[in-house]
Symmetry: C2
Subunit: 316 residues, 2 copies
């Protein structure tokens, strides 16, 4: 790409980034995306330190291209995760769910690029002040954990891109090259794609969850648990218990008890579609086939270049 | 524009449509937008029949260009509205909030183009089957009444555009030419813009509500009253009463009592910012100046053509 700061910053061919996703994106998916010219991300939020180390060793063996690790900054074993990332020379870290002030300079002193995920203009400006190299702006339609403002990608991307000087990666609602072109029209210089990369051979998601993803239609996900931490869930048995409790005004304690522990693993990794927590973005409604990750990167890139050419000839 | 089906269908210069908005879009705004080369819409949902007739007479006197009337199909005096629209030779009708089956053929037999507003792919297909000439696909981020699926514009526009053969107009989250370009990248052939056209001299909104619009920031609106009919509201005193009731699980009857009658008029037309209902889209956070409607049409068109040219040169 011409003059694309994300490709330059991350040393990648296409500014197509596979999101780090708990239970769904280990070294197999991340290395496949990176080998295809995008950027793969290992989702460390669901990994014990010794599991993460195993994934880093495998990923380093599977690709010579840059890849990244996504680290939620509220993770209990955060320090151990960061030490492993430095030890195994991970070139790029995506941080989320917390304040990027504490770790950004340390990681950068080891030559690691730091990119922070936000869901508002306000936190984008804070992250820029903290010295991160780029921003992911993630809209309301994204799967998993999400912002309290509920700002959608169409509104959020231009607000963040106009506010900061560092490059912006758009996330939430993107699963095609058309949507990538839309994000670029709004000022993004890269896209982060989660849901669509679960529908791959390489994703570590349970096969039942992948099949569920293909079946999901419009209206089948909803942002829930707003009194705890907002999270977009697929409507299933677990969802229903949450929805019923919320409709009658359940408080934080009751909701935390319903959520319990290990529900995300149960749903997405072990394939209990009824009692587990299933996290997908709204755009799952358009995903209907499982492919190799490399084929998705190529397809999105082709659609994107087609859309750009079409846009260039819209005006008479 | 080259090969734009919305411009051809509606006989307009730019595929920029000003949304019909209760209490905010009478003949002055609609005629100003149409005279500027877009399409202005009179929002009939807040008008008694004799008021609507006054607006039709004034609009016919103020412009020779096509304009439209937006009619919620659940409106109590629907038949009288439709008779007036036929009598005064309104060229285009936008229908919303109801089944387009009953009125589409009748209006078309009088030479009137019919465009239906939907918030899902499912209802887009039903509207196409009912014979409407085009679809407005309106996302979760839009102001005012909204769909239960909560599908955002970035997800909804391509889903609808891929599903139907008739042209699609994107609505929700659009207040700039960049967002218009994004909508076109997703498959739309026109845009419907509401919130930004309230920030005009010609809008019939109360000056206090216009000033409030300029002050609104990200996170200042939220989709509420989901147990009744979902509506995006500005956070104010009225909003707080609704939010408190919903948090403790208030039922439909209690919510209907809080809503009462005339709250939208009180807020948006009479300027009671504390006790009235204020409807704005999320994109209000980016609107910070009041301008003539014609200047907005020109500015959006210029931004759009710039964005299209920029997109055409993205690829090396």
């Amino acid at each position: 790409m011409k003059n694309n700061r994300i490709c330059e910053l991350l040393d990648i061919q296409y500014p197509i980034i596979q999101a780090g996703m708990v239970w769904c994106s280990g070294w197999e998916l991340a290395s496949a995306v990176s080998n295809a010219g995008g950027l793969g991300i290992i989702g460390a939020g669901s990994m014990y330190p010794h599991i993460l180390e195993e994934h880093l060793i495998q990923c380093n063996a599977a690709t010579n291209r840059p890849y990244a690790v996504n680290v939620p900054l509220l993770y209990v074993a955060l320090e151990e995760h960061m030490e492993l990332i430095i030890k195994h020379k991970v070139p790029i870290v995506f941080t989320s769910a917390g304040n990027p002030k504490k770790w950004t300079a340390t990681l950068q002193s080891h030559g690691i690029k730091v990119i922070h995920v936000v869901s508002s203009r306000k936190f984008a400006l804070k992250a820029e002040q903290a010295g991160v190299d780029a921003i992911v702006a993630e809209g309301f339609e994204a799967g998993g954990h999400n912002g309290r403002e509920e700002t959608t990608s169409l509104c959020l991307i231009p607000m963040v891109a106009d506010a900061v000087n560092i490059p912006v990666i758009a996330a939430g609602g993107i699963a095609s090259g058309k949507a990538m072109a839309a994000a670029f029209a709004l000022g993004a210089e890269g896209v982060q794609i989660g849901t669509r990369f679960i529908a791959t051979q390489e994703s570590s998601a349970h096969q039942s969850f992948k099949d569920k993803l293909l079946a999901v239609d419009e209206g089948d996900t909803k942002l829930m648990l707003k009194k705890l931490v907002p999270v977009r869930l697929v409507k299933n048995g677990f969802f229903k218990r949450v929805a019923e409790a919320e409709a009658r005004g359940a408080d934080v304690n009751e909701l935390a008890a319903i959520l319990g522990r290990g529900k995300a693993k149960k749903g997405m990794f072990e394939g209990d579609l009824e009692n587990g927590e299933l996290e997908l973005g709204q755009i799952a409604a358009t995903v209907d086939v499982i492919k190799p990750a490399a084929a998705i990167v190529e397809e999105i890139w082709q659609e994107f270049t087609d859309a750009c050419q079409r846009m260039g000839s819209v005006i008479a």
